[in-house]
Symmetry: C2
Subunit: 379 residues, 2 copies
């Protein structure tokens, strides 16, 4: 199957302030987005793909002259792929608060003329969906064929059905959850503390100091990585394999002894080179806050009552201990309680939470079948 080929990010500027859940607002902001495929004449074939923590608008294709610049869901989105760009017009949007192009903490705060830093307003999943809805409207799309996302992206897909039910027909939510558990919040909090207590964080205004809180970012990423992988896949991939070929142990508390240490340090180092610390705080907080049942006394079924008539595909992965299948089943139950049309696939995959990004034939088979169904409904 072919890739969508070379792609170019586009920008859309919004002069009208975006009111946020917190009561604050974001003014004068820009969203970066990409599109793949062609919008059909009646503008009915658009699919919005929402990104998770460490991703962006760059869902598929590559940037000309940049090898290894494949989009983060390139294995799923393209001509002839499960989400087939020969049929669908696919849109990836970078959320505000991100560090990948849309207005975020590194950009200039119009109120001060300096980078927002820690003063960037706290954004929620609902705020992101509002921002996305504006962009979709400007593209002249009245109703999306589907909104698709995995993990945090899945939360956005769900939130679309609650905030703009009339503006989409299908929701495809993969490896997601109706709210973070205490353990999920706990991991986020440790990562945030590692960043915030890094002396180079400077209260979130480190840009002015010409430094980056890399120590904190490294630790945050290492923690994240552990939770993305299953215990089994980590064991299979690394086990107790040593870094050195020598039979002898190093007997050192700080030198790398095991491959897993080397892998995690590498992931942490790489991440700290490009990810923004304030963005990390904002995105983990958006994860913490997502809880559509909250406004309905904790009753998720009541929350989804507004989504009646929408159609859902949910997917979870057996070894995902971050957002386990049980959490997806909570969503399925809430939908079924509303007699909403929902398909649910629990994929037996060894890779943990990361499985949603991987090319598992059963998983992609489910996705392909569902998007084919959407395509057929249009005819």
């Amino acid at each position: 199957m072919a890739s969508v080929g070379a792609v170019t990010p586009q920008q859309m500027h919004f002069a009208e302030p975006l009111p946020l859940q917190s009561g604050a607002s974001l003014r004068d902001y820009t969203l970066v987005y990409e599109t793949y495929g062609t919008l059909n004449a009646d503008r009915s074939n658009a699919v919005l793909v929402c990104h998770a923590l460490n991703a962006s608008h760059h869902v598929a294709g590559h940037y000309a002259g940049q090898p290894k610049s494949d989009g983060w869901w390139d294995n799923l989105v393209g001509p002839g792929k499960a989400l087939d760009t020969d049929h669908f017009f696919v849109i990836g949007i970078n959320n505000p608060g991100s560090c990948f192009g849309s207005t975020g903490p590194m950009h200039t705060n119009p109120d001060t003329g300096r980078p927002y830093g820690a003063d960037f307003p706290v954004v929620t999943v609902e705020d992101w969906v509002d921002a996305q809805a504006r962009l979709i409207k400007r593209l002249g799309i009245t109703q999306l064929a589907a909104v698709l996302g995995g993990s945090l992206g899945g939360m956005q897909a769900l939130a679309w059905t609650l905030r703009y039910p009339e503006r989409l027909r299908h929701c495809v939510a993969v490896a997601t959850t109706p709210s973070l558990s205490a353990q999920n919040i706990a991991f986020n909090e440790v990562a945030r503390r590692a960043i915030v207590t890094d002396p180079d964080f400077h209260g979130g205004h480190f840009y002015a100091h010409g430094v980056v809180p890399k120590r904190g970012l490294r630790v945050a990423r290492m923690i994240g990585h552990i939770t993305y992988l299953s215990d089994d896949s980590m064991e299979e991939k690394f086990g107790r394999e040593r870094k050195s070929d020598s039979e002898e142990l190093n007997y050192s508390t700080q030198d790398i002894e095991f491959q897993i240490e080397s892998y995690l340090r590498y992931q942490g180092d790489k991440f700290s080179e490009y990810f923004d610390a304030n963005t990390y705080l904002l995105i983990t907080r958006a994860l913490d806050y997502f809880d559509p049942a909250r406004a309905h006394g904790g009753d998720l079924a009541r929350a989804f009552a507004v989504a009646k008539g929408k159609k859902f595909q949910l997917v979870s992965f057996t070894t995902d201990w971050r957002f386990s299948p049980a959490r997806s089943r909570e969503i399925v139950k809430a939908l079924v309680d509303n007699q909403i049309d929902v398909s649910y696939a629990e994929i037996d995959a060894p890779h943990g939470h990361d499985a949603f990004l991987l090319d598992d034939p059963r998983y992609h088979g489910v996705m392909r079948a569902y998007f084919e169904r959407i395509a057929q409904e249009e005819v």
Copy 2:
């Protein structure tokens, strides 16, 4: 049931160097220990209790005039308790490298006249067992009735049967593992990186700078705490409960929003006030290195061949995802393969790894029954 009452730690000095697995040695060291109950005339009723990461020789009883100074296994060890000090003579020993009294990184390195700091030699579970064996010998005990430990303490109990099989009759190993998994090592490594990259660590020689790498210790402890609790018990205890009574969210990335955040920060703060950073590195490394199968081509059954004739009680807890029941079953299998007498209890408990420290009636029932059996065998 009564407590053992007020207790006083004792010290034993060793002038003869302790050769270590690394090839280095520890010279001129002191071990701190406590005893409860009375050694009988034929010195056959002694039980050694080995401690885990955040514990010490202070297993039971309290220190006179210090409320809240109960030993860490006071619910298990005492007159009439599961490990009954009316019958047994119980010994708790603080391991070298610890920060609770025995020679450790904060003590003076006789080679330099300054605190060891990061130069304290890397110690292993086997080194600790060697140190304990010397102390037991000096107490005039030729053969222990049992060695008991939970978690890292359980590893020491197992190592006793491999290094000094003739010097104990029973091994009681709770919530332990024959080796750390890749995920276990990963969590240790993140904690170590948090400590080592704290600018106040000063390469492990922070004592000379009058500072303590508290940021790193806090993060390390927070990570540890998450792994000690089960997902379920954390959900039950904290869930998404808010810190404030207000209905309104704070919309802050740094302020505490959820109870779980408050709890973890408190645990981290408390820990950073008393625990030594170098000790944390040493003890997590000892955990990483423990792997008795390694010297036998990865064959755990071959490793335990030397323990023939010993008797074992193993206990695991269903919700322990740090050292899961599957890991205890590996040990049971290796013992059974050697036709070694082993009892195994898998306790259905909600508390995760921490369950080994708690007073669960089924768990303590198993322990009581086993120690009664040991007592009867003596008669």
